[in-house]
């Protein structure tokens, strides 16, 4: 049982790897995704994920942002093996898990858990909270369940209730407790707060941050809300049409976005301050995100990009290092 009781690498939790590029040797990444691909359909298939590469280090949060259809959720689902990738590899704690069979995958299923957007859709309505949290294999006894419920801000009195008796925020707490039951090292959070009210969002964000600190968890935080991502992540990857167009430390990406799409995306987010909104530079992109079924040739962003030139229409830019630190950008004219 390789993953039964892993000794935690003594990495500092929450370290942003490219905050200090020369800070000596770094622990190995917990998760390495290399050239991951998902093509739906056989001939002329839809390339939902088209060669995605990134790492997640122990104890850190990587944000995966982008608009609908950019492939961020599909990427998350392939990492937890809810979907089988059509290409590329997923390496977890040094072991390639991309093609493991169900039996060999089992220890890794404990290590990699997932939290979903809609807490009600992801909780079995006919099971009590205790059964949901302890899981199909009865990982925990009642005492363990109650302990876990208390960790996520619920109580013993909730253990015998059913999902419909809870509010959205509470139901999401149950989803988090379930994910924690197997003592994972990585949790893929797929839009974990976007279905919740603003005041409840903040509660869940705080809970996730506390749990990360206490349990040394790594998160892959998939979200479309750039404000939330900025708040919770150490590093950010921006996806557009199945590819990562920019990846780097949170501050690098948010304070000095290098890809024109990242710039437009950030400028489009409304800021809750009317005086800022009044004077702010806003890049309104023309058109809609193109369909992954018929991606434009060259750089997939070129039809909406103000900087696009001839080379952008013929050649897809590779993801290349940009400036100091570990930022990478896929743009012929990154600035």
């Amino acid at each position: 049982m390789t993953g039964a009781s892993p000794a935690r690498p003594a990495g500092e939790p929450g370290t942003a790897p490219d905050a200090a590029p020369d800070a000596g040797p770094r622990p190995a990444p917990l998760l390495s995704v290399r050239d991951l691909r998902m093509t739906f359909g056989k001939r002329n298939g839809v390339r939902a994920v088209d060669g995605v590469t990134f790492d997640v280090w122990p104890g850190e949060t990587l944000g995966l942002v982008g608009e609908s259809g950019c492939g961020k959720s599909t990427t998350g689902r392939m990492i937890v093996r809810l979907m089988e990738p059509t290409g590329g590899t997923v390496v977890f704690a040094g072991r390639d898990i991309t093609r493991l069979g169900p039996r060999d995958m089992r220890p890794f299923r404990r290590d990699i858990q997932m939290i979903f957007q809609d807490p009600f859709a992801s909780l079995n309505p006919r099971q009590t909270v205790e059964r949901i949290v302890s899981g199909p294999t009865r990982l925990l006894d009642r005492r363990g369940v109650i302990e876990l419920l208390e960790t996520v801000g619920l109580g013993a009195e909730h253990a015998d209730r059913y999902p419909h008796e809870f509010s959205g925020g509470q139901a999401q707490r149950i989803g988090i407790a379930r994910a924690l039951a197997s003592r994972p090292r990585l949790i893929v959070c797929d839009e974990p707060v976007s279905a919740l009210d603003v005041s409840i969002q903040a509660q869940i964000v705080n809970l996730l941050a506390d749990l990360q600190r206490e349990l040394d968890l790594a998160y892959l935080f998939i979200a479309h809300d750039l404000s939330v991502v900025r708040h919770v992540c150490d590093r950010v990857a921006v996806m557009y049409l199945g590819r990562v167009v920019e990846i780097g430390s949170r501050d690098a990406v948010y304070n000095a976005p290098a890809h024109p799409y990242t710039r437009a995306l950030l400028s489009a987010v409304p800021v809750p301050d009317p005086e800022v909104e009044l004077v702010r530079e806003r890049i309104v992109l023309p058109g809609d995100p193109p369909s992954p079924a018929a991606p434009p040739p060259g750089c997939s962003f070129n039809p909406r990009c103000a900087m696009a030139r001839d080379v952008c229409r013929t050649e897809a830019p590779p993801l290349m290092a940009h400036g100091p630190g570990e930022r990478k950008v896929a743009c012929h004219f990154a600035g």
């Binding site: 925020g169 903040a202 948010y254 987010v269 301050d273 530079e281």
Partner: protein, 381 residues
Amino acid sequence: MILRVRDLRVAFPAGTAVDGIGFDLDRGRTLGVVGESGSGKSVSSLAIMGLHREAAVSGSIVFDGEELVGAPASRLRELRGRRIAMIFQDPLSSLHPFYTVGEQIAEAYRLHLRVSRRVARERAVEMLAEVGIPEPRRRAGEHPHRFSGGMRQRVMIAMALSCEPDLLIADEPTTALDVTVQAQILELIRRIQRDRGIAVMMITHDLGVVARVADEVLVMYGGRTVEHAPVREIFRAPRHPYTQGLLASAPRLPAGGAGDSPDPAAGSVAAGGSPDPVAGGVAGPVVKGRLRAIPGSPPSLLAPPPGCRFHPRCARYAAAPDDACVTEAPELRELRELCVLGEVGEVHAGRALRLVGAEGPPAGPVHRTACHLAETRGGSR
């Protein structure tokens, strides 16, 4: 004054969803209505549209001098779509899948203005062009499923505006859209409003959207108004603990991109520390980690808490409990002294002195809040 709402109540058999709200809305102005799920913001807008069948609507809704509460259904039908138009969150479920987009726009236009088919079809094409749909003549002949989410919302806006309404109610019009498309749609609504001088009631949960488009803001909680003020005052000097909490709990982006100095940690006050996110001091914490959450969850309409509906979650009440918060619903009161906010204070100082006439206190751009504990804390600033 195109719309004057007073003491609006909407009661369903199960409970009261809206419990006495009021506001004024002028032509060319935008009122942002903010609240979380169950706050009554959508129910209020449906009441203005006269779309409640099972509910008891009371109070007063005066549209362009005409009382709508108790008006015959036939009259409401005439106004609806013609002079009061509405767009919804999900454009796909508001469009008929069987008819072409052009037919659907033309139908409403023909119904209300009794013009020929040909004129109505031309109008549809013209409206599609106005809302920025490329190749409008060809697109008018297509069905809704051929349009993307943003394009569908443009179609809804074209339909809403085809009869030249005086009031547009937009209920979460961009919530289902991606941010880059949201920016396009908000820009479009603003341009159309400027060109035509219509009044807009923008219902949203997104404080950023409100900051971008609204002139004044009504904050709703548990079916009641907790604060009503010009947009800059809501964000600069929120007075109600709920408004303050909402602003403090929303994560935000730096203002202009580069050159932002990160604020020092806003600290973790959530667990019983300093109770009040001081008015105005709402700049979002930039450090990774905790947000200032509001504890608890929004009230259920089936069993709303007594007194002030926010008191079970209120940091101010927790710090200095007052019996009034539990026993009496606080009235929406004008703040006695407007805080001086430099130019903002000057702009609104004149309006704050507006006389209280026979029709009750003006609901215009003065700062009003419903909190028993507001003055004790607010006055000093």
